[in-house]
């Protein structure tokens, strides 16, 4: 199997380890990976703020950059959902590029049929459902199945697992007080589990949650699912 990597702009710029970890896991599973260097951003910030004409130009660009890919894998439920669910509306049709863009855990479990990647990670963790992975891509079990097969890992569910962390892109800047309150609710629920790590499939959620936890100096760390799965 050959896949093209779609590394979202903020993962590339701020969380490169997440991309690197994904490469490692895929290579261990004998997947041939490539990284089309022409890629930039999927256009979601503009799309979600109402600037559909601007977003459309980047959607067209994405489809050109990945035109030859057999499958496209991204370590972000949010950006994968943007391409697969919202590009068809933006561009007027679904294409093989939009339909073959997958979120990382989705690709492993549904496309490769792998739910045990042979990782070891000795820690108690809780999983935060990113809204796009959960409600746009309907990925509830995939990441959990992968986590349950990690040696030494104990998964504890929090009561607010499915509640939004409050990031929402420009929402968190336009309405910072609401976003902060949502973060507060989320982190309170995380704390109640007594875990050492919060895991998610989206670095944007983890930035929102981690930013709060670090400011509050709470002994809970954030880690992307790919980074957990890359640890041996």
């Amino acid at each position: 199997m050959r896949v093209a990597l779609f590394i979202p702009c903020f993962v590339d710029q701020f969380f490169p380890n997440v991309g690197i970890a994904m490469v490692k896991v895929l290579r261990q599973l004998n997947v041939e990976v490539s990284y089309p260097p022409q890629q930039t951003c999927c256009g979601q910030p503009a799309f979600n703020t109402g600037y559909w004409d601007e977003a459309r130009q980047l959607a067209r660009r994405y489809c050109e950059v990945f035109a030859d890919a057999e499958a496209i894998v991204s370590p972000s439920g949010s950006c994968a959902a943007m391409v697969r669910n919202f590009y068809p509306e933006l561009l007027g049709q679904a294409t093989h590029v939009t339909s073959n863009t997958f979120e990382f855990s989705e690709f492993l479990v549904q496309k490769l049929g792998v739910s045990d990647v042979g990782a070891k990670f000795s820690a108690k963790v809780t999983y935060h459902d990113g809204c796009h992975a959960l409600r746009e891509l309907r990925l509830k079990n995939e990441p959990r199945e992968l986590l349950r097969n990690v040696q030494g890992l104990e998964l504890v569910e929090m009561s607010e697992a499915e509640t939004c962390c409050g990031f929402g892109g420009t929402f968190s800047v336009k309405f910072p007080m609401i976003s902060y309150a949502m973060d507060d609710v989320k982190c309170e629920s995380i704390q109640k589990t007594g875990v050492g790590y919060v895991v998610s499939s989206d670095s944007s959620c983890l930035m929102q949650i981690g930013g709060y936890l670090r400011r509050q100096k709470l002994p809970i760390k954030t880690i992307h699912l790919a980074e957990v799965l890359a640890t041996t």
């Binding site: 590339d12 490169p16 503009a46 979600n48 800047v173 880690i223």
Partner: protein, 486 residues
Amino acid sequence: MTAIADQFKRAAAEKAADPHHRAVLQRAIATYDAAVARGKTRFADWQNARAQAAQIKWETINHLDRYLEQFERQMIENGGRVFWAETAEDAREYILRIARSHNVRKVVKSKSMTTEEIHLNAAFAVAEIQVVETDLGEYICQIRGESPYHIVTPVMHLTKADIARTFHEKFGTAPDATAEELAGIARAQLRHEFLTADMGVTGANFLIADTGMITISTNEGNGRLSVSLPRIHIAVAGIEKLIPRLEDLALMWPVLAASGNGQAVTVYNTLLGGPRRDSETDGPEEFHVVLLDNGRTRLLADAEQRDALHCLRCGACLNACPVYRNIGGHSYGTTYQGPIGSVITPHLREAREWSHLPYASSLCGACSDVCPVRIDIHHHLLHNRRNAVRLRFDKTWERWAFRAWLWAMQTPQRYVLAGKLARVALRLGLVTPLVNPWTQGRELPEPPQHTFRLWWRNKGRDGCPQASVKKQPRRAGDNAFYQHHE
């Protein structure tokens, strides 16, 4: 920013920072969630029930002209009168005209968001007609001079102690009266009002096209008393409240009750088909239905968002919404709060004035998932945002910022440069709360030394990393894992 948007931001920020408010709403919604989870198990297949309910509403809304005329014909045949109100003002004028022509002094009202929408109580006050809300929650709102906090649960924001205090101030009851005592006081007061009222005003949960009937569902029986004791009954309903057939209630009643508060069916479900007939012992002498447009046909004309007219006003999307849960109902400043309110208000009222509401959402989609008639709520929030930009309701600086951003994202060279600038700004501590309010209360990630792109070019494409990585990453954003491969 408009004054309305400014007011919203201030009110929302205040409530979001209020832990007591959050706790009260959390408790109320936890009770709701538990009841609804039980309620849904009564359906063999809840998702199928939603799909069918959505289908019934889709059929109605897409043939609304036909069903409205059928309803009118049947209602007139039943002896009722139908008034088509294009605006809230038309509706108010008609209702006041009827009231004046019958010398109405006192009106009892059963719970109705549509009458809230047309500000009917204020119109009665100006006309010096006494109006009494008879739903307990609405009654408390009226005493306090507040608008409903929630479509279904008007006093969701109040504790029992708050209500006891309100009654203490109004009626001189014990400041620590129990729930039973409070309900008893309200019942005694309201019984007197029912018996002395000249006119009953209600909403309608459904209008039934094939039989020309309306339905009212209440848990307190106040709907029945509002329509059976006074001489005149006026029901005010949005034109979208139609369903084609009487038999559709077999699905719509339980679906509404399950989503509204988890009941199998609401306690009192009343079907009304016109005034009292000669052979009947009770019912009003006159029966009027006011069919309210008030902007709904504008929404109907919008094929993309027409399904927002499916809404049963069950309140499920409010309860599911993490924004509503934190800012409460009054912050919105609208008749219809929460996600569905943010979808329809820009259509029903001045689009520019209310264009901030669709942005006050993280687009998490919890609303669409719980909607019993499958309205694509969060998707429509996106549509409203796009419409706002098209209509140039956006800020000039924001428009230019996105143009500049697009320019930067159009080639990898510009993208790399923009990224570098962002990381340098981050490292130099230039991203202060003034620049980005996100950092108020949160730590920014530590910028890594290199991007993924650079790693790929230098190492990654040649087959690194190999299978042996010993070190555990300490947290996302630190460089331990990355540096291992340097």
